[in-house]
Symmetry: C2
Subunit: 461 residues, 2 copies
């Protein structure tokens, strides 16, 4: 036990007794996140109510040498918020205010605990748009999105979280507060600490406030579903759309296994005879959208789509979107252990990746499925097994390692949007190599010399 | 003299004798850049022809403890490439190949010495678009754009250089090569070293290759000029356009002094009776562009524009663009010393900034002018004087310091797109504060412990 009764009392004094949790049930609740099979109890859960309280807690932790794992909604799938070294879970959900909407300058200032979909709704009601749209938007927090550098469904056209963070307020492990960036799109005053913190998974600092860049809300959108008799046909169609110089705002892919699961689960009316479907959404100016939707539908038909279904109203649109949003829950209920992977390749290599996933399923006798963001090459292969059985767990492990190698061989990355956390730290050297890894370690050491913030994550031991 | 004849011989062996310059004329040529009044001779200029040669030169330099200043076209205006500590100027202009266009995945791989406008032309011929567009595009290099985190005319709608760099190859001070990022828009594998290097002005590593993100070339654009009887009216109109949820691809502002100079210099036919003009370009889908151009023109008229001139053909468009592109040369010829500043504020504070600049001109008895990127709040105030006269130089210096304070007070930054270099290092603490500055120093030390790369830049001594 690192945390003494005296320390606990100090923490209670800082954030209030009700915001310091130590019961076994509480510790259990914060021992895991959405990563399967990873668990470790913290010694205490502390929920600060202000940036000042965050700084006070970190000052105390650094004096006492206590580890700190920052956590929002805990929806990450890499164990990034599992407190493997015990210590404090710093729960940021009380810092959940939308602080300022600056309509004249298209910025939104928020605390990290704001739920992403709440933020979406808030700005969209005012004709503005925050494009990053992780699938977990209805439950995840913007702080978690920043910590993982979240992507989502609209990255091909609009980019990812890092592209929409203009400035941050954060607290270092030492308890010192700093500001990065600012209110303007253009800011090259010194090193880009903003984007160094984005995606650093709470290992470098604790974000207490963010200034986000907004854009005008597209005035129109059009959704369609195209089904294909083979994965290759669907992938060829993705390439054809990009070659036609069209960037749909979403361009999602579902394979046969995903289609079957989703149909059995949510009945959105997907074509059961298809080997793959694309869910495509174009958005923007109404005239442009009408033209692009027509063009995309024609491209799909020319690429021998079995069927192209254009949503005719909001209800049909909703039902098509539901098909995609249901993929994760539909697959997750099949087996005790669901590993959702994050393999990302240049979009033109999509068909090769899907074929490789199928081969891995056969080789390791695992149920597999794949869906994801075809437009940006970010696929979510599913590997389903019963991880409680050591033999299955070991096959699962071997399959995942081989998937990482495959993504890299195809010119991709081992994580497109989920991050590294605990689950993928061991693979880091394969992608970034010893020199870049050395630089990352040096940066970690420079910012957090005691290794207090989220130890064991991102960088392999 | 740090560089011994033996060292010189080794350098010649590495890159070839013709690519090692030591004549007084050569050293003079590389002693300055576009920053007024800053000069310091290097001891040698070395022009490597490959990444391997860059690594060899850096290994040698680090063994010998020789400083290295990386340089492209030297168009920066902050002294960022002035070799204040002597040593080697590492000239990257021989590394000027466009290596690979991946049309299927919308990426372009280039060496750092490629001229930005060459790159623009190369991809635009193929229906693709690299949006960052610094005013010096026809002479500057993409490596310099990456080093400074260049912005340009299209940032409001399209963002800046950092938003279009997916991956880098670079060499550390030690001579070790590393890769960052990759081929995909989504990549969250470890810390974002890509964007740490973007904007680091050659102080952390030498970039030898970059993977850039492309987007489809907008199929249409429409250019217009709106003139106003006051700066406030022009600024109000900028706000009205943004409030109407329209993002023009360029939204440029020229004040009266700039209009007069440009007219006298290039005669593009600007309205001499105006106190300010906006040069506005909308681009995208043809139908959308037609609608937006109409809407913007109407907004300008409603905001009491004296005149709104819509370019009717390519020639008229060219002539309007010329007006903006001529601003720098037109102003620069007026007095011996031209300081082009880079004050950036939230766009809604534009009128206040322009008024403050006029007041600074009066207070310090300096000729001033202002133009710039109104849409993103990035103004380029000009201060004109004869810097050879110590008394004038001292007034100039005081005015610049006060301008920095003003930008910060208005919620802005001391550099929107030009960077810090030598000229603004002293102001860094005012904006980023001691903690962030400490983090930047720690990062510099971690990557370049001997302080070999571009010493004296970005971080104040």
């Amino acid at each position: 036990m690192v945390i003494s009764p005296g320390l606990l009392k100090e923490l209670q004094g800082m954030v209030g007794g009700a915001n310091v949790l130590t019961s076994p049930e509480s510790l259990l609740c914060y021992s895991y996140d959405a990563a399967p099979g990873l668990r470790s109890d913290p010694e205490v859960v502390v929920a600060p109510g202000s940036a000042g309280e965050v700084a006070a807690v970190l000052r105390l932790a650094s004096q006492a040498g206590v580890k700190v794992v920052t956590r929002g909604a805990g929806t990450n799938v890499t164990g990034a918020t599992v407190p493997v070294a015990g210590g404090i879970v710093l729960l940021m959900t009380r810092l959940n205010r939308i602080l300022a909407l600056d309509e004249a300058n298209l910025t939104l200032t928020v605390e990290p605990g704001v739920i992403t979909s709440v933020l979406h709704g808030y700005v969209e009601k005012r004709g503005l748009f925050y494009p990053p749209d992780p699938a977990s938007a209805s439950v995840c927090t913007i702080g978690g999105n920043i910590a993982t550098g979240a992507g989502g469904l609209r990255a091909l056209k609009y980019g990812v979280t890092r592209d929409y963070v203009l400035g941050l307020e954060a607290v270092l492990a030492s308890g010192e507060a700093l500001r990065t960036g600012g209110q303007t799109v253009k800011n090259v005053t010194g090193y880009d600490l903003t984007r160094l913190l984005v995606g650093s998974e709470g290992t470098l600092a604790v974000v207490t406030q963010a200034i986000l860049r907004l854009i005008p809300l597209p005035r129109a959108k059009r959704t369609m579903l195209a089904s294909f008799s083979s994965v290759e046909a669907a992938a060829t169609c993705v390439s054809a759309i990009i070659a036609a110089r069209i960037l749909p705002c979403t361009l999602e892919f579902l394979d046969k296994a995903t289609i079957d699961c989703v149909e059995a689960y949510a009945h959105p009316g997907l074509p059961r005879e298809a080997a793959a479907v694309l869910l495509i959404e174009v958005d923007g100016n109404p005239a442009a959208v009408a033209e692009e939707a027509e063009q995309v539908a024609r491209l799909c038909r020319e690429r021998r789509a079995l069927e192209v279904r254009l949503a005719q109203d909001a209800a049909q649109e909703q039902s098509l979107s539901l098909a995609r949003r249901s993929a994760f829950p539909a697959l997750a209920r099949l087996r005790p252990t669901t590993v959702m992977e994050d393999a990302t390749v240049p979009p033109s290599r999509l068909a090769e990746l899907v074929a490789a996933i199928a081969r891995l399923g056969e080789k390791y006798q695992l149920q597999v499925a794949a869906f994801g963001h075809a437009g940006d090459g970010n696929l979510h292969p599913f590997f389903l097994a019963d991880g409680r059985d050591p033999e299955q767990a070991s096959r699962l492990d071997a399959a995942l390692a081989e998937l990482v190698e495959t993504s890299l061989r195809l010119g991709g990355t081992l994580s497109g949007e989920h991050g590294i956390g605990l689950a993928k730290a061991r693979f880091m050297p394969l992608e970034v190599g010893p020199t870049a890894l050395g630089v990352m370690r040096a940066i970690k050491k420079a910012l957090d010399p005691q290794d207090l913030l989220n130890p064991g994550k991102v960088l392999p031991p």
